[in-house]
Symmetry: C2
Subunit: 534 residues, 2 copies
């Protein structure tokens, strides 16, 4: 870090919000993926003026600023910039909840607000509004996740689709409200398209401005909530028909949530530690592991929302549609809040263990899933990232600091059963070749497309496995791309190749980038090779 | 038109698709609003190469190109450019339907495809998919309407929100697929956010590129369709509570369509001719007119969609919720298709006339509304634009050619009953001051906001009334803006003032415009004063 720049930063930030110590910085940028870069310093702005000043300094000095909301996107890149050096800006101290509008169903929050913070606040003020959590950590940024097109699980699962009324600081330090409305525009947080071109899309998965706050639409608590589980027990040749049936349930509004249909490995990593510390399991070993827990090939838990009649109808229709493929359980009774809560749960757990042959850990999962689908975020599921370690942590997950090796790739496919199965079969082969277990979760984004979240857990302390992980990523990523199934978001390792197959798109972004960030100081490389000074 | 430019155009277009005759041009750009500009020529491309060549010619010669899809946005500007001269490009001959995907529920169409064309085609191939029509003309462009953020009426009413997979020709002539996917990207039409920044928003209500085709998501025909009507019969002091109740029905998914809640005048102009040829009616005269037709202060018709149980539940919940405010009728029986169709309708019409005191014309409206909510577009409703003329035309409406004077302003408000009523009261005063009848339709865009479609019909052949119309527009537009309720789309007369109150937004658009259209040849002025050569 140039001395003069450090001096100016010390004027902008007090010592608590500016990290110059190399060891501390390296810990902060510790990462789950096999690639990492170390910035020269880390700043934690608490207000927009500090962000503006930092960006102006960057423009003057030519030193780059890499911005993350909270940087909890484990398996994608976390807080690591795409390059060595420069300023890393983390927005986690910008965590004020600016408004909750009960009538119109939204909150206005800063970019540093986490899922847990928003949920805790809503519970504290006895709001009628529920958040839509992800299956990942409760410490993640609500806005950050949405800006990376993250997905939730309730009817409000499309996180970017529920942002409304962004406030952005452009790389030049100017403040933009990209919805066409002036400050006094009354529907800023309740009408998404504003007047004129819709610029909000420029600020997702990109490096065109710092989103410092936004409205986010929230679901009013429904009159009735129920919880269901599904286990796929049919032959694999019926799997395409199962997916097609699922799609039609969504088209008909009989399935309004967005569950993740998880394969055996994805499920087992949640409830147990890997039996061979991450060395690929044979088919027989996986089968044995499955049996120990009573886990099926494919499983999902899911919330049902609505008035009493709507939920009753959903239950009937889902059961009827999915019964030919497996087992549907409605287990709300055992998990609803009440006086005999603990006893009911205990009885159910025993019942499930003895009669349904589930392990205690699998039954415990239901409790968390039941909570999650009501908008209560939890680290329970993301602790699957620890499955190669001795044990999962008791409290909050810190997958980066704890050096969990994780890489995600989430290709997008049209929602067609046959196509999805064909893809899964080919994909599994690539995992096998690189000696990794096959992790897959089919995540419908609408009745029209699915994201298939696929990934590996690997031992970061083992250089050979880390190299294998990187090789798997390269081959699998290329395979998806060649199939025409690009990922829904990109990891640090994939940024350089972004949009290579859509040169006109690359060129257009480049023109816009040059127009808005002429010195190219902002999150360089975040949007592929589109920077003015590459 | 410069001779050399005309010569090149004659090389690109045959005589059938190039209009140079001044009289013909002036007819083509005939307009419902009080402002109009005459281009030097009109071209009708039939393929993308012609569009590219025209844009390259424009860049070489500096002559501007103003582009409309079909230019049927009556009351906003139709085919008139924002300036005199230049090339007017109309895309109505680009009207191929490229794909209908029954499984995934979408069609891929060119920008010139009209609502009627798409609907006819779907009916012809016995598709399971329904379109979402507007209340306006069936001759309008499906894509054009979506690009101007037009609204429909079924659960798929958010037209821009249902576009997916745009193909754009940039002002420089290059072809852009703004969703980040290359040509072989399989989910282009089924996943909206692609990979990377979402650029599709750049091409709505803007002048950054010609959208030549797009996917549009369509609703699969529901198992059950019902039709309802509502008449507001309470005192006006209960109107805010009615609106709040309506909002909650939407939040709960008990109202899934997007009806237009029309005031008496809006309804009467559909069923009758204006009693005083457009001279403002007194309260007593309006009351008298209302009585003659049995029309209430506020009315809406609406479709209910779903499986049998969903529709039954909607019926119960809507009736229970809205009964305190007026009369809910479910009249599907009389309008469902079948053997005794005509007789049932006739019996119902007589019944409604004698017992419900409705005019025959009002009863006829139901038939069209019942069809409309099933995705069958019609010119029936838009013929209200003819209410000042001797009679409405029998066939297709051609409001421009027939010189119907219409201006629309559609301010966006948060969906709060009290706020909406306060606004309506103040707005009505402005109509009165300018001696126009008060037209208002409350159009929910979600449970969070409404567009209030407001407008006037005026005698275009009367210069004094035309001036009054323009004065009304100016004052009312300013009033909305000052209140913080900007219109959801802009008329020709409002373009110069666009975004004046959001200078940073204007500046950002200007930078992007300069980057993508450096010579400023494309639809100059369409996005306010953001052109590189103003």
């Amino acid at each position: 870090m140039v001395e003069s720049v450090a001096l100016v930063l010390q004027e902008i930030f007090d010592s608590e919000h500016l990290v110059l110590d190399a060891l501390k910085i390296s810990l902060i940028t510790n990462n789950c993926v096999p690639v990492s870069h170390i910035p020269a310093c880390v700043v934690y702005p608490v207000n927009k003026e500090q962000i503006q000043k930092t960006l102006i300094l960057a423009n003057q000095s030519g030193i780059g600023v890499w911005v993350v909301s909270r940087g909890k996107n484990w398996g994608y890149g976390s807080k690591s910039p795409h390059y060595q050096g420069g300023i890393l800006m983390v927005l986690e101290k910008m965590n004020r909840i600016l408004e909750v509008n009960e009538t119109l169903g939204y909150a206005v929050i800063e970019a540093g607000v986490s899922y847990a913070e928003l949920n805790d606040y809503l519970k504290k003020i006895k709001s009628r509004l529920w958040i839509d959590p992800t299956g990942s950590t409760e410490s993640g940024s609500v806005i950050g996740n949405a800006l990376d097109k993250g997905r939730g699980i309730t009817p409000y699962a499309d996180h970017f689709g529920h942002l409304c009324g962004l406030e952005v600081i452009l790389p030049t330090g100017e403040i933009l409200k990209p919805d066409g409305g002036a400050d006094h525009y009354q529907a800023r947080y309740s009408y998404r398209w504003g007047l004129g071109p819709v610029l909000s899309g420029l600020f997702v998965q990109s490096n065109l401005g710092v989103v410092i706050s936004s409205g986010i639409w929230l679901m009013p608590k429904p009159e009735k909530y129920e919880f269901m589980t599904f286990e796929y027990t049919s032959d694999s040749n019926k799997f395409p028909a199962f997916l097609d049936t699922f799609r039609e349930l969504m088209f008909k509004g009989q399935m309004t949530a967005f569950p993740h249909i998880a394969n055996d490995y994805a499920m087992l990593c949640i409830v147990d530690q890997h039996p061979k510390k991450g060395l690929a399991l044979s088919d027989l070993e996986i089968q044995d592991w499955r049996k120990r827990h009573g886990v099926s090939n494919w499983t999902f838990g899911c919330g049902l929302y609505g008035d009493r009649s709507q939920v009753k109808n959903q239950k009937n229709k889902i059961k009827k549609a999915l019964k030919p493929f497996g087992v549907v359980h409605y287990i709300n009774f055992f998990y609803s809040q009440g006086l005999f809560d603990i006893y009911r749960k205990k009885i159910f757990s025993k019942f499930a263990q003895f009669f349904l042959r589930k392990s205690e850990a699998v039954v415990e999962t239901l409790d968390w899933a039941h909570q999650l689908y009501q908008g209560n975020p939890t680290d329970f599921f993301v602790k699957q990232a620890y499955c190669l370690q001795a044990q999962k942590p008791a409290g909050v997950a810190l997958a980066d600091e704890d050096e969990c090796g994780v890489i995600w790739v989430g290709p997008i496919l049209p929602f067609e059963g046959k196509r999805i199965q064909d893809f899964l079969i080919e994909a599994k082969d690539i995992f096998k070749q690189h000696q990794f277990d096959f992790f897959a979760e089919v995540m419908p984004t609408s009745p029209r497309s699915v994201i298939i979240l696929m990934g590996i857990f690997y031992d970061k302390k083992n250089p050979q496995r880390t190299e294998q992980a990187l090789n798997w990523f390269k081959e699998f990523h290329l395979f998806c791309d060649q199939k025409g199934y690009p990922p829904y978001r990109e990891t640090l390792m994939g940024l350089d190749q972004l949009f290579q197959e859509n040169p006109q798109y690359l060129k257009t972004i480049q023109k816009i980038k040059t127009a808005l960030d002429p010195k190219g100081i902002f999150s360089k490389g975040r949007t592929g090779k589109t920077d003015p000074n590459p």
